[in-house]
Point group: C2
Chain length 101, copies 2
């Protein structure tokens, strides 16, 4: 499947809650969504509370439609207390490669 929309987000968990944040992200329904082609969670080796997610979607529209659902908005509400400050977004659209996690 081709990706035409994506981003790289970096979040800092509340102190000591990095594992919880990673678990939360890996339980995200995005992973099972047919239009979510890439959902890759990463962590800083130096700071276990710094967590990254790279997302790639078939289109901006499919992402935004999912993001507007009550389910997704509920996730955002549950995510907020887990992180310190706002996520930092970077302009990165996945274009190829693989992840055999």
């Amino acid at each position: 499947m081709t990706v035409s929309y994506g981003f790289h987000a970096t979040m800092t968990a509340q102190p000591g809650r990095g594992d919880e944040l990673v678990g939360f992200l890996l339980a995200s329904p995005s992973l099972a969504h047919e239009d979510c082609v890439v959902f890759l969670v990463g962590r800083s080796a130096a700071d276990p509370d710094v967590v990254h997610v790279t997302e790639g979607w078939t289109s901006e529209e499919t992402h935004h439609r999912f993001f507007a659902t009550a389910e997704a908005q509920g996730l955002v509400a549950r995510l907020q207390p887990l992180i310190a400050g706002e996520p930092e977004y970077r302009d990165e659209v996945p274009v190829g490669g693989r992840a055999a996690l």
Copy 2:
């Protein structure tokens, strides 16, 4: 497979050679290497010459062993003229998720 070593690299292609750099990265033998669990290539939506690669390896040792081979060193030599300056590395180790590219 589990990843215990990884990084996120951002490279800027020589002007107008972003497509060539992406093609070069996607032809990398890392993609077929059994210890390379994640090799995800991404691009900036705003600047087609800015290219990212997120790598995840079973261990630092397997990565370094591959990187020391004549094959890998040949790739590095062929990569240099394609990029402007040095790659920028970020501390990111893939831990989970998927890429169905």
